[in-house]
Amino acid sequence: MTLPLILFYAFGAILIGSALAVVTARNSVHAALWLVLTFFTSACIWLLLHAEFLAIVLVLVYVGAVMVLFLFVVMMLDVKVAPLREGFVRHLPVGLLVAGVMLAEMLGLIGFGKLNEGGALVDAAAAQGLSNTEWLGRTLFSDYILPFEIAAVILTVAIIAAVALTLRHRPNVRSQDPSAQAAVRSQDRIRIVEIASANKETP
């Protein structure tokens, strides 16, 4: 047993344990936190495979952005736990069956004996003596610069489309104007009016 193998088994056990905790946790906030641990452990496994860029991106994007958003949503929605869990035991056999069939399919596709081979893939980064991130960056900005730029345009379109579909100019919306608030003078706020009283004689 080498150190990476020991680490792999350790991370694998944590990954499976936390993934199970995601679906069994009673509290949805706890489930989201377990999911964070799942993502983080998968990032660790990727690091073992020398895919440090993917590992960092997984932590930054999924743990840092997506899960935080998720936690906000879960906290805001105030999901009732009990009704969601009603059918858990009843549906468990079906779920196990689906999972079992999927496992069998995957094993059939990949094959028991081939799991160790690792395929005929050549690590292009290692072949050039570069780190994974550096190689990825160079390839992305030289060979794949055109698709990269088109993808950037697509993201721009997504922003424009989102604004176009949601921005509404409502008339009569009350909003603060700080400069007008700051420039206000005392005579603008209060006006002293002399009212001639019509009836002065005391009763």
């Binding site: 030289s142 060979d143 794949y144 610069i145 055109l146 698709p147 088109i150 993808a151 345009v153 697509i154 721009t156 379109v157 997504a158 424009i160 489309a161 604004v163 176009a164 579909l165």
Partner: protein
């Protein structure tokens, strides 16, 4: 591939120009007041025509490299024809859309920028030499289209159409991507030329290839709207604002053709025998369902949607021939159909007013007695769609059928001809309604006095006759482009 050189950038001048001016338009539009919005309108049209001019110039420049960015971008004749007609038909859409958008409070810069982004996606798709550029171009076309369908936010029918379009479109993209991944797995490449080379030299993993091919054909059929993947077409055509339907119904058909051409011919030509059979089923079903169901429609936009489906059948027939003549006929069919479809939807825009969509065929009753000139234009457009001799629709159908017969698909050509005759019924019914029915009792308000609209629509409809009689040079250009 080494660092990027000028030889890589020069073939992309039209795309770069469109993207650059589009970004400027996007920002400039923020500072244009609503009363001055016509500035955006004319700038957008000028951008499209200038880009078309640049494409035209680039297509005649033999010094330009035929591929750029390591084969990701292809600069050939088919790409040039497709781009020029995509740009021209979109410019027509803009001209026709203006009188429709203004009374419906949709005359905003977003309509123009989203359409222009979609055009940019189609241009990249037309020049795709790699699965990545093809897929990204397709997504750049699809994403603005979804948003455009939903642009009229307070209209429930538009939102429903947008939802259907988005879900089915995303599903189709997923199918296509899944197929691409299998082809990549089987051949080890995303580059069209390398895939083709790998398929010719050794046929690796036949099972994986067949699965990948099936998914790719399904993706293409979804995007083109071929039966049985046509379910979204009628709902989207009917639900979208007419200006958006006009766009979705015209230029993206050329993009659909070029997507099929690039993937099936450029990359997967060695699997011709396999995909020919798949396309045959799609073409037959499209011709049958499209023409037969269109007869039952009373809504003109829905009728045109089913008519599109039947036209896609013809488009596929040309691709199935697998010869230079076949591809050229399909290309000719796609570009002339785009021009015809813009004119057809221009008619609906002409008839519609604020609060009145003129979508029903009945709304065209007795048009001849109200406006003889427009009745004539409706006649020209419908006759061309029906494929009556002397019109461009006839010439396009003739070329496709000729290519089909030449490549030994006699019975398919006979069936297609029969369905074309059946299909002529519902186009002729519109002409009958226009000329021989009594106009409705209540008088409609006068037509919008938009001079550019009237002039361009007239020229567009007359061009259908002109191309029908003098379409030879365009057809010859298509043949030259496909032959390379």
């Amino acid at each position: 591939m080494g660092p990027i050189s000028m030889a890589d950038l020069l073939p992309l001048v039209p795309e770069s120009f469109l993207l650059g001016s589009l970004c400027i338009l996007l920002l400039a539009d923020l500072f244009i007041r609503q009363s001055q919005r016509a500035v955006t309108h004319w700038l957008a049209i000028a951008m499209l025509l200038l880009t078309a001019g640049l494409v035209w110039r680039a297509s005649g420049d033999s010094a330009l490299a035929s591929t750029a960015f390591g084969g990701m971008f292809v600069n050939d004749g088919v790409a040039a024809i497709c781009k020029i007609f995509i740009l021209i038909s979109t410019a027509l859409v803009f001209v026709y859309a203006k009188p429709y958008l203004i009374p419906r409070r949709l005359f905003q810069g977003e309509f123009y920028t989203l359409v222009l982004f979609a055009v940019l996606g189609m241009m990249f798709l037309a020049s795709a030499g790699n699965m990545l550029t093809a897929y990204l171009g397709l997504e750049l076309l699809a994403l603005p289209s979804y948003a455009l369908v939903a642009l009229d936010r307070d209209n429930g029918r538009s939102s429903e159409a947008a939802m259907k379009y988005f879900v089915l479109g995303a599903l189709a993209s997923g199918m296509l991507l899944y197929g691409i991944s299998m082809i990549y797995g089987a051949t080890g490449s995303l580059d069209f030329a390398s895939i083709r080379g790998a398929l010719v030299s050794n046929a690796p993993h036949p099972w994986l290839l067949s699965f990948g091919l099936v998914f790719i054909v399904i993706g293409i059929a979804f995007k083109l709207g071929a039966v049985p993947f046509h379910m979204w077409v009628p709902d989207v055509y009917q639900g979208s604002p007419t200006a958006v339907t006009m766009f979705i119904g015209s230029a993206p058909k050329i993009a659909g053709f070029v997507l099929a051409y690039r993937l099936l011919e450029d990359a997967l030509a060695p699997l011709f025998a396999d995909w020919r059979g798949m396309l045959a089923v799609l073409a037959l079903l499209s011709l049958a369902i499209g023409n037969l169901v269109a007869i039952a429609q009373t809504n003109l936009k829905r009728m045109l949607a089913y008519s599109t489906i039947s036209h896609v059948g013809f488009l596929l027939l040309g691709l199935m021939a697998g010869t230079i003549e076949g591809y050229a006929a399909s290309l000719f069919y796609a570009v002339t159909y785009a021009i015809t479809a813009t004119a057809a939807f221009g008619m609906i825009v002409y008839m519609s007013r604020a609060g009145f969509e003129a979508e029903e065929i009945d709304d065209f009753r007795g048009l001849n007695q109200r406006n003889g000139w427009y009745a004539l234009l409706v006649l020209l457009v419908m006759a061309s769609l029906a494929g009556i001799p002397l019109f461009v629709g006839f010439l396009a159908k003739l070329q496709v059928l000729k290519a089909a017969v030449d490549s030994g698909m006699l019975w398919l050509a006979v069936v297609a001809g029969a369905f074309a005759v059946i299909g002529a019924f519902y186009y002729l019914r519109v002409i009958k309604v226009v000329y021989f029915d009594d106009p409705p009792a209540e008088a409609l308000p006068a037509a919008p006095a938009d001079l550019p609209f009237n002039l361009v629509l007239g020229a567009n409809a007359l061009a259908l006759v002109g191309l029908g009689v003098l379409g030879g040079p365009l057809m010859a250009w298509c043949v030259r482009a496909v032959a390379g």
